[in-house]
Amino acid sequence: MINFTWHECKMLDTEFLESNPVYLTMPTDSDETFQIYFTALRNLAEQNIPIAHSVNTSTSAKACLFSSTNPPHWEFANRTCPASFSVVKEYDTLNIRMDTKLVNGSKAWVSTLATGEFGIFKFIGECKGLQSPHFLLEYTYKGTENFVEEYKNVCGPGMFQSGTGEFYLKDYTVEPVFHLFASDPVKALPLNKALALMVPTILYGGCIRLVNELEIKTAELNKLTNDWQRIVDSGLTFNLSKDYKALDEQISDFYYKVKQLLADLCGTIIQNSLVKFYNPETELGKYFYDSMVYSTHKNSNLFR
Protein backbone atom coordinates (compact mmCIF):
# COMPACT_ATOMS: atom_id res chain seq x y z
CA MET A 1 0.00 0.00 0.00
CA ILE A 2 2.84 2.43 0.78
CA ASN A 3 4.34 3.53 -2.52
CA PHE A 4 6.76 6.20 -1.37
CA THR A 5 7.35 8.90 1.18
CA TRP A 6 5.85 12.13 -0.09
CA HIS A 7 8.47 14.42 1.38
CA GLU A 8 11.20 12.49 -0.42
CA CYS A 9 9.63 12.87 -3.88
CA LYS A 10 12.05 14.23 -6.43
CA MET A 11 11.39 17.81 -7.46
CA LEU A 12 11.77 19.11 -11.00
CA ASP A 13 15.41 19.12 -12.09
CA THR A 14 17.50 19.61 -15.21
CA GLU A 15 17.80 15.87 -15.72
CA PHE A 16 14.04 15.50 -15.99
CA LEU A 17 13.73 18.39 -18.43
CA GLU A 18 16.57 17.14 -20.63
CA SER A 19 15.12 13.63 -20.61
CA ASN A 20 11.69 14.99 -21.54
CA PRO A 21 12.48 17.79 -23.98
CA VAL A 22 8.82 18.33 -24.82
CA TYR A 23 8.70 20.38 -21.61
CA LEU A 24 11.45 22.60 -22.97
CA THR A 25 9.29 23.47 -25.96
CA MET A 26 8.65 27.19 -26.07
CA PRO A 27 4.91 27.72 -26.52
CA THR A 28 5.42 31.27 -27.79
CA ASP A 29 7.48 30.15 -30.79
CA SER A 30 4.61 29.15 -33.07
CA ASP A 31 1.06 27.84 -33.13
CA GLU A 32 2.45 24.33 -33.40
CA THR A 33 4.75 24.59 -30.37
CA PHE A 34 1.88 26.20 -28.47
CA GLN A 35 -0.31 23.18 -29.11
CA ILE A 36 2.47 20.65 -28.43
CA TYR A 37 3.43 22.33 -25.17
CA PHE A 38 -0.05 22.68 -23.70
CA THR A 39 -1.05 19.13 -24.64
CA ALA A 40 2.09 17.86 -22.90
CA LEU A 41 1.46 20.08 -19.87
CA ARG A 42 -2.11 18.80 -19.51
CA ASN A 43 -0.91 15.20 -19.74
CA LEU A 44 1.78 15.85 -17.15
CA ALA A 45 -0.74 17.47 -14.81
CA GLU A 46 -2.85 14.31 -14.98
CA GLN A 47 0.13 12.48 -13.49
CA ASN A 48 1.77 14.99 -11.19
CA ILE A 49 0.50 18.50 -10.48
CA PRO A 50 3.55 19.95 -8.63
CA ILE A 51 5.94 18.84 -11.36
CA ALA A 52 3.59 20.31 -13.98
CA HIS A 53 3.50 23.53 -11.97
CA SER A 54 7.30 23.73 -11.88
CA VAL A 55 7.40 23.11 -15.63
CA ASN A 56 4.94 26.01 -15.93
CA THR A 57 7.11 28.39 -13.87
CA SER A 58 10.26 27.36 -15.73
CA THR A 59 8.68 27.90 -19.14
CA SER A 60 7.04 31.16 -18.07
CA ALA A 61 10.34 32.57 -16.83
CA LYS A 62 12.15 31.55 -20.01
CA ALA A 63 9.37 32.84 -22.28
CA CYS A 64 9.72 36.26 -20.63
CA LEU A 65 13.47 36.22 -21.09
CA PHE A 66 13.14 35.33 -24.79
CA SER A 67 10.99 38.44 -25.12
CA SER A 68 13.59 40.67 -23.53
CA THR A 69 15.48 43.16 -25.66
CA ASN A 70 18.55 42.58 -23.54
CA PRO A 71 20.67 39.85 -25.26
CA PRO A 72 22.27 38.46 -22.06
CA HIS A 73 18.77 37.41 -20.98
CA TRP A 74 18.52 35.06 -23.96
CA GLU A 75 21.26 32.87 -22.50
CA PHE A 76 19.06 32.22 -19.47
CA ALA A 77 16.10 31.51 -21.72
CA ASN A 78 18.06 28.75 -23.45
CA ARG A 79 19.04 26.95 -20.26
CA THR A 80 17.56 23.52 -19.57
CA CYS A 81 17.28 24.08 -15.82
CA PRO A 82 14.15 24.68 -13.71
CA ALA A 83 13.27 28.29 -12.90
CA SER A 84 10.76 30.30 -10.89
CA PHE A 85 8.18 32.78 -12.08
CA SER A 86 6.29 34.79 -9.51
CA VAL A 87 4.26 37.97 -9.21
CA VAL A 88 5.16 40.41 -6.42
CA LYS A 89 2.11 40.74 -4.17
CA GLU A 90 1.07 43.32 -1.60
CA TYR A 91 2.40 41.21 1.29
CA ASP A 92 5.87 41.00 -0.31
CA THR A 93 8.40 43.63 0.72
CA LEU A 94 10.80 43.42 -2.20
CA ASN A 95 12.32 46.79 -2.97
CA ILE A 96 14.65 47.67 -5.80
CA ARG A 97 17.03 50.62 -5.86
CA MET A 98 17.28 51.63 -9.48
CA ASP A 99 20.58 53.48 -9.00
CA THR A 100 22.52 50.72 -7.24
CA LYS A 101 20.53 47.74 -8.58
CA LEU A 102 20.35 46.39 -5.08
CA VAL A 103 17.28 44.48 -3.91
CA ASN A 104 16.12 44.15 -0.31
CA GLY A 105 13.08 42.55 1.28
CA SER A 106 11.07 39.35 1.22
CA LYS A 107 9.16 37.41 -1.41
CA ALA A 108 6.69 34.68 -0.39
CA TRP A 109 5.21 31.75 -2.30
CA VAL A 110 7.97 31.28 -4.84
CA SER A 111 7.47 28.01 -6.71
CA THR A 112 10.49 25.99 -7.85
CA LEU A 113 12.68 27.93 -5.45
CA ALA A 114 14.23 24.71 -4.14
CA THR A 115 15.62 23.48 -7.46
CA GLY A 116 15.50 26.54 -9.73
CA GLU A 117 18.63 28.33 -10.95
CA PHE A 118 16.95 31.69 -11.36
CA GLY A 119 13.58 33.41 -11.16
CA ILE A 120 11.61 36.10 -12.92
CA PHE A 121 9.66 38.41 -10.61
CA LYS A 122 6.97 40.64 -11.92
CA PHE A 123 5.64 43.78 -10.29
CA ILE A 124 2.00 44.56 -10.92
CA GLY A 125 1.18 48.14 -11.82
CA GLU A 126 3.75 50.88 -11.64
CA CYS A 127 7.05 50.40 -9.86
CA LYS A 128 9.80 52.99 -9.86
CA GLY A 129 8.21 54.76 -12.80
CA LEU A 130 7.89 51.62 -14.92
CA GLN A 131 4.72 49.75 -15.81
CA SER A 132 4.76 46.09 -14.72
CA PRO A 133 8.53 45.73 -14.61
CA HIS A 134 10.12 42.28 -14.36
CA PHE A 135 13.48 41.49 -12.93
CA LEU A 136 15.75 38.53 -13.17
CA LEU A 137 17.15 37.08 -9.98
CA GLU A 138 19.89 34.49 -10.14
CA TYR A 139 19.87 32.01 -7.27
CA THR A 140 23.67 31.81 -7.28
CA TYR A 141 24.07 33.00 -3.71
CA LYS A 142 21.15 31.13 -2.21
CA GLY A 143 21.98 30.13 1.33
CA THR A 144 24.30 33.07 1.99
CA GLU A 145 23.50 35.92 4.33
CA ASN A 146 22.40 37.97 1.31
CA PHE A 147 19.90 35.35 0.15
CA VAL A 148 18.08 33.45 2.88
CA GLU A 149 15.50 30.89 1.79
CA GLU A 150 12.81 29.21 3.90
CA TYR A 151 10.25 26.53 3.25
CA LYS A 152 8.21 26.80 6.45
CA ASN A 153 4.76 27.50 5.01
CA VAL A 154 4.45 24.63 2.56
CA CYS A 155 5.22 21.57 4.61
CA GLY A 156 2.11 19.52 4.03
CA PRO A 157 2.03 16.78 1.43
CA GLY A 158 0.09 18.95 -1.04
CA MET A 159 2.34 20.67 -3.60
CA PHE A 160 5.40 20.01 -1.45
CA GLN A 161 7.09 18.68 -4.58
CA SER A 162 6.84 22.10 -6.26
CA GLY A 163 9.68 23.30 -4.01
CA THR A 164 7.78 26.42 -2.98
CA GLY A 165 9.28 28.71 -0.39
CA GLU A 166 10.03 32.29 0.45
CA PHE A 167 13.24 34.25 0.47
CA TYR A 168 14.75 37.32 2.08
CA LEU A 169 17.29 39.43 0.20
CA LYS A 170 19.79 41.77 1.73
CA ASP A 171 21.62 44.09 -0.67
CA TYR A 172 21.38 41.53 -3.43
CA THR A 173 22.48 42.71 -6.86
CA VAL A 174 20.08 41.96 -9.69
CA GLU A 175 20.29 42.07 -13.44
CA PRO A 176 18.94 45.30 -14.90
CA VAL A 177 15.22 45.64 -14.46
CA PHE A 178 13.55 45.11 -17.77
CA HIS A 179 10.16 46.07 -18.98
CA LEU A 180 8.66 43.70 -21.48
CA PHE A 181 7.26 45.29 -24.61
CA ALA A 182 7.10 48.69 -23.02
CA SER A 183 6.83 50.39 -26.36
CA ASP A 184 4.65 47.82 -28.12
CA PRO A 185 2.06 46.08 -25.94
CA VAL A 186 0.61 44.28 -28.95
CA LYS A 187 3.76 42.19 -29.18
CA ALA A 188 3.16 40.98 -25.65
CA LEU A 189 -0.13 39.31 -26.55
CA PRO A 190 1.21 35.86 -27.55
CA LEU A 191 3.32 35.73 -24.39
CA ASN A 192 0.39 36.84 -22.26
CA LYS A 193 -1.83 34.21 -23.82
CA ALA A 194 0.68 31.46 -23.08
CA LEU A 195 1.23 32.63 -19.52
CA ALA A 196 -2.49 32.95 -18.89
CA LEU A 197 -3.20 29.39 -20.04
CA MET A 198 -0.60 27.65 -17.84
CA VAL A 199 -2.48 27.39 -14.52
CA PRO A 200 -5.89 26.64 -16.08
CA THR A 201 -4.32 23.81 -18.09
CA ILE A 202 -2.87 22.25 -14.94
CA LEU A 203 -6.20 22.63 -13.13
CA TYR A 204 -7.87 21.00 -16.14
CA GLY A 205 -5.42 18.05 -16.02
CA GLY A 206 -6.28 17.68 -12.32
CA CYS A 207 -10.00 17.57 -13.12
CA ILE A 208 -9.51 14.87 -15.76
CA ARG A 209 -7.56 12.70 -13.32
CA LEU A 210 -9.97 13.08 -10.40
CA VAL A 211 -13.01 12.43 -12.58
CA ASN A 212 -11.34 9.22 -13.75
CA GLU A 213 -10.43 8.21 -10.21
CA LEU A 214 -13.93 8.94 -8.94
CA GLU A 215 -15.38 6.96 -11.86
CA ILE A 216 -18.04 9.60 -12.47
CA LYS A 217 -19.24 11.43 -15.53
CA THR A 218 -19.63 15.18 -15.54
CA ALA A 219 -21.16 17.28 -18.27
CA GLU A 220 -19.06 20.17 -16.95
CA LEU A 221 -15.80 18.41 -17.78
CA ASN A 222 -17.00 17.66 -21.32
CA LYS A 223 -17.83 21.30 -21.79
CA LEU A 224 -14.46 22.40 -20.38
CA THR A 225 -12.70 19.94 -22.69
CA ASN A 226 -14.29 21.68 -25.67
CA ASP A 227 -13.36 25.11 -24.27
CA TRP A 228 -9.74 24.11 -23.63
CA GLN A 229 -9.38 22.51 -27.06
CA ARG A 230 -10.77 25.63 -28.73
CA ILE A 231 -8.29 27.85 -26.91
CA VAL A 232 -5.35 25.57 -27.71
CA ASP A 233 -6.35 25.10 -31.34
CA SER A 234 -6.42 28.86 -31.82
CA GLY A 235 -2.68 28.89 -31.04
CA LEU A 236 -0.96 32.23 -30.86
CA THR A 237 -3.03 33.87 -33.54
CA PHE A 238 -5.98 36.14 -32.95
CA ASN A 239 -7.65 39.14 -34.43
CA LEU A 240 -6.19 42.10 -32.59
CA SER A 241 -9.09 44.44 -33.09
CA LYS A 242 -11.65 42.38 -31.23
CA ASP A 243 -10.24 39.00 -30.20
CA TYR A 244 -7.72 40.39 -27.77
CA LYS A 245 -10.53 41.17 -25.41
CA ALA A 246 -12.41 38.00 -26.32
CA LEU A 247 -9.32 35.87 -25.84
CA ASP A 248 -8.72 37.25 -22.39
CA GLU A 249 -12.31 36.63 -21.39
CA GLN A 250 -12.27 33.15 -22.87
CA ILE A 251 -9.26 32.09 -20.79
CA SER A 252 -10.56 33.87 -17.68
CA ASP A 253 -13.90 32.13 -18.00
CA PHE A 254 -12.20 28.76 -18.50
CA TYR A 255 -9.90 29.40 -15.54
CA TYR A 256 -12.78 30.25 -13.22
CA LYS A 257 -14.81 27.19 -14.23
CA VAL A 258 -11.97 24.69 -14.15
CA LYS A 259 -10.81 25.93 -10.75
CA GLN A 260 -14.33 25.57 -9.40
CA LEU A 261 -14.65 22.05 -10.83
CA LEU A 262 -11.39 20.93 -9.23
CA ALA A 263 -12.52 22.31 -5.86
CA ASP A 264 -15.88 20.58 -6.29
CA LEU A 265 -14.21 17.27 -7.10
CA CYS A 266 -12.08 17.56 -3.94
CA GLY A 267 -15.35 18.38 -2.12
CA THR A 268 -16.91 15.20 -3.49
CA ILE A 269 -14.06 13.19 -1.99
CA ILE A 270 -14.41 14.95 1.37
CA GLN A 271 -18.20 14.83 1.60
CA ASN A 272 -18.25 11.16 0.71
CA SER A 273 -15.33 10.40 3.06
CA LEU A 274 -13.56 8.40 0.37
CA VAL A 275 -10.78 7.08 2.57
CA LYS A 276 -8.70 5.65 -0.28
CA PHE A 277 -7.73 9.23 -1.19
CA TYR A 278 -6.51 10.18 2.29
CA ASN A 279 -3.14 8.45 2.58
CA PRO A 280 -0.49 10.81 1.16
CA GLU A 281 2.00 7.98 0.82
CA THR A 282 0.03 6.34 -1.93
CA GLU A 283 0.22 7.85 -5.38
CA LEU A 284 -3.53 8.47 -5.38
CA GLY A 285 -3.50 10.07 -1.92
CA LYS A 286 -0.64 12.36 -2.84
CA TYR A 287 -2.49 13.37 -6.00
CA PHE A 288 -5.55 14.28 -3.93
CA TYR A 289 -3.56 16.50 -1.56
CA ASP A 290 -1.74 18.10 -4.51
CA SER A 291 -5.07 18.80 -6.21
CA MET A 292 -6.61 20.21 -3.08
CA VAL A 293 -3.75 22.63 -2.43
CA TYR A 294 -3.43 23.59 -6.09
CA SER A 295 -7.13 24.36 -6.30
CA THR A 296 -6.67 27.05 -3.62
CA HIS A 297 -4.31 29.15 -5.78
CA LYS A 298 -5.63 32.70 -6.04
CA ASN A 299 -8.52 32.09 -3.66
CA SER A 300 -10.18 35.24 -2.42
CA ASN A 301 -9.19 34.80 1.24
CA LEU A 302 -5.85 33.15 0.57
CA PHE A 303 -3.72 35.25 2.85
CA ARG A 304 -6.17 36.52 5.43
Binding site: P157, V275, M292, T296, N299, R304
Partner: protein
Protein backbone atom coordinates in the same frame (compact mmCIF):
# COMPACT_ATOMS: atom_id res chain seq x y z
CA UNK B 1 -0.45 15.21 24.28
CA UNK B 2 -2.71 12.44 25.52
CA UNK B 3 -1.46 10.00 28.12
CA UNK B 4 -2.41 8.66 31.51
CA UNK B 5 -1.02 11.78 33.19
CA UNK B 6 -3.41 13.91 31.15
CA UNK B 7 -6.33 11.91 32.56
CA UNK B 8 -4.99 12.26 36.08
CA UNK B 9 -4.62 16.02 35.61
CA UNK B 10 -8.08 16.36 34.05
CA UNK B 11 -10.41 14.11 36.05
CA UNK B 12 -13.46 15.24 34.07
CA UNK B 13 -12.17 13.03 31.28
CA UNK B 14 -12.17 10.02 33.57
CA UNK B 15 -15.95 10.33 33.78
CA UNK B 16 -17.61 6.97 33.55
CA UNK B 17 -20.43 7.62 31.11
CA UNK B 18 -22.30 4.46 32.10
CA UNK B 19 -22.50 5.31 35.78
CA UNK B 20 -22.42 9.11 35.50
CA UNK B 21 -25.48 11.21 36.24
CA UNK B 22 -26.88 13.87 33.91
CA UNK B 23 -24.79 16.67 35.41
CA UNK B 24 -21.54 14.69 35.11
CA UNK B 25 -22.34 13.83 31.50
CA UNK B 26 -22.94 17.50 30.72
CA UNK B 27 -19.60 18.42 32.26
CA UNK B 28 -17.83 15.68 30.31
CA UNK B 29 -19.30 16.49 26.89
CA UNK B 30 -19.00 20.25 27.34
CA UNK B 31 -15.32 19.84 28.21
CA UNK B 32 -14.85 17.49 25.27
CA UNK B 33 -16.41 20.05 22.94
CA UNK B 34 -13.98 22.69 24.19
CA UNK B 35 -11.05 20.37 23.60
CA UNK B 36 -12.19 19.49 20.06
CA UNK B 37 -12.41 23.17 19.25
CA UNK B 38 -8.72 23.46 20.03
CA UNK B 39 -7.19 20.05 19.43
CA UNK B 40 -9.09 17.41 17.46
CA UNK B 41 -6.66 14.46 17.93
CA UNK B 42 -6.67 15.02 21.69
CA UNK B 43 -10.48 14.99 21.80
CA UNK B 44 -10.50 11.80 19.76
CA UNK B 45 -8.00 10.08 22.06
CA UNK B 46 -10.04 11.05 25.14
CA UNK B 47 -13.24 9.77 23.54
CA UNK B 48 -11.73 6.43 22.58
CA UNK B 49 -10.43 5.99 26.09
CA UNK B 50 -13.87 6.67 27.56
CA UNK B 51 -15.33 4.10 25.17
CA UNK B 52 -13.05 1.44 26.59
CA UNK B 53 -14.03 2.49 30.11
CA UNK B 54 -17.67 2.08 29.12
CA UNK B 55 -17.12 -1.39 27.69
CA UNK B 56 -15.28 -2.50 30.79
CA UNK B 57 -18.03 -1.07 33.00
CA UNK B 58 -20.67 -2.93 31.02
CA UNK B 59 -18.73 -6.20 31.25
CA UNK B 60 -20.26 -8.86 33.47
CA UNK B 61 -16.87 -9.58 35.03
CA UNK B 62 -15.80 -7.83 38.19
CA UNK B 63 -12.17 -7.71 37.11
CA UNK B 64 -13.09 -5.55 34.12
CA UNK B 65 -15.34 -3.34 36.26
CA UNK B 66 -12.41 -2.76 38.61
CA UNK B 67 -10.11 -1.66 35.78
CA UNK B 68 -12.83 0.71 34.56
CA UNK B 69 -12.51 2.67 37.80
CA UNK B 70 -8.79 3.40 37.31
CA UNK B 71 -6.92 5.94 35.17
CA UNK B 72 -5.67 4.15 32.06
CA UNK B 73 -5.08 4.69 28.35
CA UNK B 74 -7.55 2.70 26.32
CA UNK B 75 -7.76 1.64 22.69
CA UNK B 76 -11.09 0.99 21.09
CA UNK B 77 -11.70 0.09 17.47
CA UNK B 78 -14.81 -0.96 15.59
CA UNK B 79 -14.85 -3.67 12.93
CA UNK B 80 -13.59 -2.46 9.55
CA UNK B 81 -14.37 -4.22 6.28
CA UNK B 82 -10.70 -5.00 5.74
CA UNK B 83 -10.08 -6.37 9.26
CA UNK B 84 -9.24 -10.06 9.41
CA UNK B 85 -9.00 -10.73 13.14
CA UNK B 86 -11.03 -13.75 14.20
CA UNK B 87 -11.43 -15.78 17.37
CA UNK B 88 -10.77 -19.45 16.75
CA UNK B 89 -12.73 -22.24 18.42
CA UNK B 90 -9.88 -22.83 20.85
CA UNK B 91 -10.10 -19.13 21.83
CA UNK B 92 -7.10 -17.70 20.04
CA UNK B 93 -7.06 -14.38 18.23
CA UNK B 94 -5.64 -14.55 14.71
CA UNK B 95 -5.39 -11.81 12.07
CA UNK B 96 -5.18 -8.05 11.71
CA UNK B 97 -7.08 -5.25 13.39
CA UNK B 98 -6.66 -1.91 11.63
CA UNK B 99 -7.02 1.68 12.83
CA UNK B 100 -6.43 1.32 16.54
CA UNK B 101 -5.92 4.76 18.16
CA UNK B 102 -3.56 5.31 21.15
CA UNK B 103 -1.83 2.06 20.24
CA UNK B 104 1.78 2.68 21.40
CA UNK B 105 0.68 3.85 24.85
CA UNK B 106 -2.50 1.82 25.22
CA UNK B 107 -2.92 -0.34 28.31
CA UNK B 108 -6.29 -1.96 27.67
CA UNK B 109 -8.26 -2.39 24.47
CA UNK B 110 -11.79 -3.32 23.51
CA UNK B 111 -11.85 -4.37 19.89
CA UNK B 112 -14.49 -5.70 17.58
CA UNK B 113 -13.51 -9.08 16.18
CA UNK B 114 -15.09 -11.86 14.16
CA UNK B 115 -16.25 -15.10 15.79
CA UNK B 116 -17.84 -17.47 13.32
CA UNK B 117 -20.70 -15.56 11.73
CA UNK B 118 -20.92 -13.07 14.56
CA UNK B 119 -18.98 -10.01 15.69
CA UNK B 120 -17.95 -9.47 19.28
CA UNK B 121 -16.38 -6.82 21.47
CA UNK B 122 -13.37 -8.42 23.15
CA UNK B 123 -11.13 -7.15 25.91
CA UNK B 124 -7.37 -7.35 25.34
CA UNK B 125 -4.73 -6.49 27.93
CA UNK B 126 -2.04 -4.53 26.10
CA UNK B 127 0.32 -4.40 29.07
CA UNK B 128 1.65 -7.78 28.05
CA UNK B 129 2.03 -7.71 24.31
CA UNK B 130 2.97 -11.32 23.68
CA UNK B 131 1.59 -12.96 20.53
CA UNK B 132 0.94 -9.57 18.96
CA UNK B 133 2.80 -7.56 16.33
CA UNK B 134 2.35 -3.85 15.68
CA UNK B 135 2.74 -1.43 12.84
CA UNK B 136 2.17 2.28 13.01
CA UNK B 137 2.07 3.22 9.35
CA UNK B 138 -1.70 3.28 9.00
CA UNK B 139 -1.81 7.05 9.14
CA UNK B 140 1.22 8.81 7.75
CA UNK B 141 0.00 12.32 7.86
CA UNK B 142 -0.86 14.99 7.53
CA UNK B 143 -3.81 14.94 9.94
CA UNK B 144 -4.62 13.23 13.27
CA UNK B 145 -1.03 12.07 13.74
CA UNK B 146 -1.17 12.47 17.51
CA UNK B 147 -3.81 9.75 17.76
CA UNK B 148 -0.92 7.33 17.18
CA UNK B 149 -3.11 5.03 15.18
CA UNK B 150 -1.74 1.67 14.12
CA UNK B 151 -2.50 -1.94 13.36
CA UNK B 152 -2.30 -5.04 15.53
CA UNK B 153 -1.60 -8.44 14.10
CA UNK B 154 -2.60 -11.23 16.46
CA UNK B 155 -0.52 -14.38 16.16
CA UNK B 156 -2.54 -17.08 17.92
CA UNK B 157 -3.03 -14.96 21.00
CA UNK B 158 -4.94 -16.96 23.60
CA UNK B 159 -7.70 -15.10 25.46
CA UNK B 160 -9.95 -16.04 28.33
CA UNK B 161 -13.64 -16.58 27.63
CA UNK B 162 -14.46 -13.78 30.05
CA UNK B 163 -12.81 -11.39 27.57
CA UNK B 164 -15.84 -11.69 25.29
CA UNK B 165 -17.74 -8.67 26.56
CA UNK B 166 -20.77 -8.50 24.30
CA UNK B 167 -22.01 -9.47 20.88
CA UNK B 168 -22.07 -6.57 18.48
CA UNK B 169 -25.55 -5.09 17.95
CA UNK B 170 -27.33 -8.11 19.46
CA UNK B 171 -26.64 -7.44 23.11
CA UNK B 172 -29.20 -5.39 25.07
CA UNK B 173 -26.32 -3.28 26.45
CA UNK B 174 -25.36 -2.22 22.93
CA UNK B 175 -27.63 0.85 22.80
CA UNK B 176 -26.11 2.30 25.94
CA UNK B 177 -22.58 1.76 24.68
CA UNK B 178 -23.39 3.28 21.29
CA UNK B 179 -25.10 6.23 22.90
CA UNK B 180 -21.71 7.49 24.06
CA UNK B 181 -19.82 6.46 20.92
CA UNK B 182 -22.32 8.21 18.72
CA UNK B 183 -22.45 11.41 20.70
CA UNK B 184 -18.71 11.74 21.13
CA UNK B 185 -18.37 11.77 17.34
CA UNK B 186 -21.16 14.36 17.11
CA UNK B 187 -19.40 16.42 19.78
CA UNK B 188 -15.99 16.18 18.15
CA UNK B 189 -17.33 16.93 14.65
CA UNK B 190 -19.13 19.95 16.12
CA UNK B 191 -16.06 21.08 18.07
CA UNK B 192 -13.92 20.77 14.93
CA UNK B 193 -16.52 22.78 12.99
CA UNK B 194 -16.42 25.50 15.64
CA UNK B 195 -12.62 25.52 15.49
CA UNK B 196 -12.59 25.96 11.70
CA UNK B 197 -15.41 28.52 11.86
CA UNK B 198 -13.31 30.61 14.21
CA UNK B 199 -10.21 30.31 12.02
CA UNK B 200 -12.08 31.70 9.00
CA UNK B 201 -13.34 34.67 11.01
CA UNK B 202 -16.90 33.42 11.62
CA UNK B 203 -18.53 34.15 8.25
CA UNK B 204 -22.24 34.89 8.43
CA UNK B 205 -23.13 32.17 5.96
CA UNK B 206 -22.03 29.52 8.49
CA UNK B 207 -23.15 31.25 11.66
CA UNK B 208 -26.72 29.97 11.27
CA UNK B 209 -25.47 26.39 10.88
CA UNK B 210 -23.33 26.75 13.98
CA UNK B 211 -26.28 28.18 15.93
CA UNK B 212 -28.64 25.44 14.75
CA UNK B 213 -26.13 22.72 15.57
CA UNK B 214 -25.46 24.21 18.98
CA UNK B 215 -29.18 24.02 19.74
CA UNK B 216 -29.36 20.44 18.46
CA UNK B 217 -26.26 19.38 20.38
CA UNK B 218 -27.68 20.86 23.61
CA UNK B 219 -30.96 19.03 23.03
CA UNK B 220 -29.22 15.68 22.66
CA UNK B 221 -27.09 16.39 25.71
CA UNK B 222 -30.19 17.14 27.79
CA UNK B 223 -31.62 13.74 26.85
CA UNK B 224 -28.37 11.75 27.07
CA UNK B 225 -29.49 9.81 30.14
CA UNK B 226 -33.02 9.11 28.93
CA UNK B 227 -34.30 5.91 27.34
CA UNK B 228 -31.46 5.12 24.95
CA UNK B 229 -33.41 2.32 23.28
CA UNK B 230 -36.25 4.53 22.08
CA UNK B 231 -36.73 5.56 18.45
CA UNK B 232 -37.20 9.15 19.51
CA UNK B 233 -33.80 9.22 21.20
CA UNK B 234 -32.00 7.77 18.18
CA UNK B 235 -33.75 10.02 15.70
CA UNK B 236 -32.45 12.97 17.68
CA UNK B 237 -28.94 11.48 17.96
CA UNK B 238 -28.84 10.70 14.23
CA UNK B 239 -30.01 14.17 13.25
CA UNK B 240 -27.31 15.81 15.34
CA UNK B 241 -24.67 13.36 14.10
CA UNK B 242 -25.43 13.96 10.43
CA UNK B 243 -25.73 17.72 10.87
CA UNK B 244 -22.36 17.92 12.65
CA UNK B 245 -20.52 15.73 10.17
CA UNK B 246 -22.04 17.56 7.22
CA UNK B 247 -21.14 20.97 8.64
CA UNK B 248 -17.55 19.89 9.22
CA UNK B 249 -17.26 18.65 5.62
CA UNK B 250 -18.76 21.89 4.34
CA UNK B 251 -16.32 24.00 6.33
CA UNK B 252 -13.40 21.95 5.02
CA UNK B 253 -14.72 22.49 1.48
CA UNK B 254 -15.16 26.20 2.19
CA UNK B 255 -11.46 26.46 3.02
CA UNK B 256 -10.54 24.69 -0.21
CA UNK B 257 -12.88 26.89 -2.27
CA UNK B 258 -12.17 30.29 -0.77
CA UNK B 259 -9.13 30.08 1.48
CA UNK B 260 -5.72 28.48 1.29
CA UNK B 261 -2.35 29.95 2.25
CA UNK B 262 -1.44 28.96 5.79
CA UNK B 263 -4.24 26.36 5.91
CA UNK B 264 -2.38 24.31 3.32
CA UNK B 265 0.89 23.89 5.24
CA UNK B 266 0.64 21.37 8.05
CA UNK B 267 3.56 22.82 10.00
CA UNK B 268 1.75 25.94 11.21
CA UNK B 269 -1.19 26.01 13.68
CA UNK B 270 -3.88 26.88 11.11
CA UNK B 271 -2.69 24.25 8.68
CA UNK B 272 -2.35 21.61 11.36
CA UNK B 273 -5.90 22.24 12.55
CA UNK B 274 -7.19 22.13 8.96
CA UNK B 275 -5.50 18.81 8.18
CA UNK B 276 -6.69 17.31 11.48
CA UNK B 277 -10.24 18.42 10.59
CA UNK B 278 -9.94 17.11 7.04
CA UNK B 279 -8.77 13.66 8.12
CA UNK B 280 -11.17 13.50 11.07
CA UNK B 281 -14.09 14.43 8.81
CA UNK B 282 -13.72 11.13 6.94
CA UNK B 283 -14.09 9.01 10.11
CA UNK B 284 -16.99 6.58 9.97
CA UNK B 285 -17.57 7.07 6.25
CA UNK B 286 -19.97 9.33 4.42
CA UNK B 287 -23.02 10.72 6.16
CA UNK B 288 -25.05 9.76 3.12
CA UNK B 289 -24.07 6.10 3.31
CA UNK B 290 -24.70 5.19 6.90
CA UNK B 291 -24.98 1.50 7.59
CA UNK B 292 -25.05 1.24 11.34
CA UNK B 293 -28.51 0.45 12.61
CA UNK B 294 -28.32 3.49 14.83
CA UNK B 295 -27.92 5.62 11.78
CA UNK B 296 -31.09 4.39 10.10
CA UNK B 297 -34.22 6.49 10.49
CA UNK B 298 -36.61 4.96 12.94
Amino acid sequence: MFDRQFLTDNPVFQTNYITADQHQCEQYFTSLLDIAEQDIPLAHCISKCTSVRNDLTLSRHTYHNTIARTAFVGCQSVWKPFDTVTLTQDLKLVGKKHFVSNLPIGEYATLQISKGDTKWVVYVDLNTRADMEYTYNTITGPGMLETQTGEIEFVNKPIDETCLIMEVRQDPRWDLRESHNHFFFTTNFFGASKGLFKLIHKPVKFSYDIGYLDHLWQTVLQSIKTDVSSDKYWTLQNTAYIASKRLLSELVCEIISNWGGEFMGSSNPKGKYFYDALVFSCHRGAYGKVKDRHMLAR
